[in-house]
Amino acid sequence: MSVSAIPQISLPFLMGNSLNAWSDALAGLTISWFPLGLVIIAAIPLVFIALYALTYGVYGERKISAFMQDRLGPMEVGKWGILQTLADILKLLQKEDIVPASADKFLFVVGPGILFVGSFLAFAVLPFSPAFIGASLNVGLFYAIGIVAIEVVGILAAGWGSNNKWSLYGAVRSVAQIVSYEIPASIALLCGAMMAGTLDMQQINLHQSGPYGFAHFYLFQSPIAWLPFLIYFIASLAETNRAPFDIPEAESELVAGYFTEYTGMKFAVIFLAEYGSMFMVSAILAIVFLGGWNSPLPNLGALALYDWTSGPVWGAFWIISKGFFFIFVQMWLRWTLPRLRVDQLMYLCWKVLTPFAFIAFVLTAIWEIYVP
């Protein structure tokens, strides 16, 4: 399908709500001059990141790793240790805010902030549901890829500002890694954008809607879509510094990489940013290749599973579930695989993923042009 002719799909399943109904309504909500609705729109992803990082991110990861390693994980604080992360946060809050004497104070303080802002800004274009998106940009995907790159500045500021050789190594590695892996990641996402013919996140989702559920997802719409899907998944691991590409924070080599010197809430903010971008890349993967907020269940005759499981609330459920699934895979890989070396990482990026991403790009283009 060509880029110019984007068919407008009607949405009978939205239960009377049109696209972005909730966020549009929120945006109009003001108290005299104060745009309360806009603040709420910005607060929703923030609250979401905090809640998910607290529950699924930290507690979930500890429990999942525990099950993989024949351990119990946190068990003491609350039933099954469910209040463990809360206790951890309380502990971190009480910590003294230490800035090393020899650190560059401005960079040291501003680093985690930039890091978090970079990760959080990307949530602006994340369609949490058919009825809710922070900012319905027509270049949403491009924005999401671009804004995450701001994190590099934060990492470099944190690493350089710490005035610690290990931090510097971590920062340099991280920057090299993130900048390199953006190329295969972007090309892989471009394949999805080509299939949709748009960069608008909601439109990409919309194009994958249909009564046959998962069959409409881009992963199953083209015989080569698995290739960019896989490339983006691998590259996203590297972009979020997750294992087996966690060399910037390789604890056995660089102590803790660029956040070696951080304590207390600054440390927590860096962690929050990491979990934020983990969900972001997982959500982008789900949006571009796995239908985002679309239900994967097909309509089977009278058993209209797709219709029953579609709607604004269901949409939020599906996209968050899909995101969480990929986060689970990330955790699974982290607790299974050893870490690559820096040069092997770069080899994988430039000599394997990038060429294959180009191949996937060309093949997708051919498929989109010649196969209706």
């Binding site: 050789k165 190594y169 080599e253 607790w335 695989l337 050893p338 070396r341």
Partner: protein, 400 residues
């Protein structure tokens, strides 16, 4: 590539091709950075300190600094009577206490020239082979952590726990046993010990295979270790390497086989040496492989010991233990194959005192570590970590 000072051009980086100097980069000054790795560093396995000169990620030289865990072991020995030294040896290589005690007892028994009951010898073999497996499990587990894999470490510790509880059952403590005494043992093993041992062997065999498939055959693990830190056999011998390190370089040298002691001549076991098919002989992977295969051999030895061990009827573990150890004047060198190589004790007696005149421990880790400077030249920092891990040092023994 090398750097030259060329008049009028500042520092330039050049490479030589057919004797012609080709200037690659002009006005480039690269400074080497001094990077102090340790004594508090996650992968220096304790308190080793390496002072590395680094050019980017490349380590141009690394100098190990020791002594952060020095506890005057050898001087202490001159103040304590012979049986009192046994608990001190536990604290040397604290991951293989049984083996240390045994090496020391071999030396003193040689000096005293006493006959050891057969059952004692079998029990000694069993407990030290168990400890060898436990020690290799820690070595493999921590090596996995060094390379970024966390899960194998916990699998290793889960299995090591069973060994520790077996040894605790026999000796009463988990790591610092004081179980092997001069001339005997502190206690006989409990009545059900062989049965539980058999259960452990049956339990551990599949787990060892699982560990092998999870870690040793892992593509990334192989990539990180294959061809890294290669030590040729002749250089390894010149450095005085022993144990899995030397065998990793392809030398089939095992004191249990080459200088047999105790009942090892009666036991049938292989000395695994890498054949160069799966790994490059002498690299980190070979050393890891030797440890992984040795665990299997230790299990075989334990199984044979269970069936060959004489019964406990009328057995007194302390029957041959001398009331008062006062050897005649002389000197002796006793050695045994520890999990980390040859542990030897050189003991001098003046014939009058119940305390040794001199007790010198030949530490395998210390000797193995001496090659660090050679091995680390021109490696990347992650490879340096892989090399330290493959040497498998216990700083308690290095510094003593």
């Amino acid at each position: 590539m090398q750097e030259l000072e060329v008049a009028g051009q500042g520092s330039v980086r050049v490479s030589r091709k057919d004797n012609d100097v080709v200037v690659i980069e002009k006005d480039l000054t690269t400074e080497e950075m001094l990077l102090s790795m340790g004594p508090q560093h996650p992968s220096t396995h304790g308190v080793l300190k390496l002072e590395c000169m680094t050019d980017g990620e490349v380590v141009t030289s690394a100098e190990p600094y020791l002594g952060y865990l020095h506890r005057c072991f050898e001087k202490h020995c001159e103040m304590v009577d012979y049986p009192g030294i046994v608990p001190y040896t536990d604290r040397m290589d604290y991951l293989a206490g049984m083996n240390n005690e045994w090496a020391y007892c071999i030396a003193v028994e040689k000096l005293l020239d006493i006959e050891i009951p057969r059952r004692v010898e079998f029990i000694r073999v069993i407990v030290s082979e168990l400890n060898r497996i436990a020690s290799h499990l820690v070595a493999i587990g921590t090596y996995a952590i060094d390379l970024g894999a966390f899960t194998p470490f916990l699998f290793c510790f889960r299995d090591r726990e069973h060994i520790l509880s077996l040894l605790e059952w026999a000796s009463g403590s988990r790591m610092l046993y004081n179980y092997i005494w001069i001339g005997g043992l502190s206690f006989d093993v409990p009545a059900d010990f062989p049965k539980r041992l058999k259960e452990f062997v049956d339990y551990f065999r599949p787990k060892a295979v699982e560990l092998y498939r999870l870690l040793t055959e892992n593509e990334i693990f192989v990539k990180r270790t294959k061809g890294i830190g290669i030590m040729p056999a002749d250089v390894a011998i010149n450095y005085g390497w022993s144990g899995p390190m030397l065998r990793g370089s392809g030398v089939q040298w095992d004191l249990r086989r080459n200088d047999p002691y105790s009942v090892y001549p009666e036991l049938d076991f292989k000395v695994p040496v890498p054949d160069g098919k799966f790994s490059v002989v002498g690299d980190c992977l070979s050393r890891h492989l030797v440890r992984a295969l040795e665990m299997e051999e230790s299990l075989n030895i334990i199984e044979q010991c269970i069936s060959k061990m004489p019964g406990s009827e009328g057995f007194d573990a302390r029957a041959a233990v001398p009331k008062r150890v006062r050897p005649k004047a002389g000197e002796v060198y006793g050695r045994a194959e520890n999990p980390r190589g040859e542990l030897g004790f050189y003991i001098q007696s003046d014939g009058k005192s119940t305390k040794p005149l001199r007790c010198k421990a030949r530490s395998s880790c210390f000797v193995n570590l001496s090659a660090m400077k050679d091995l680390s030249k021109g490696q990347l920092i992650p490879d340096l970590v892989a090399i330290i891990g493959s040497i498998d040092i216990v700083l308690g023994e290095v510094d003593r």
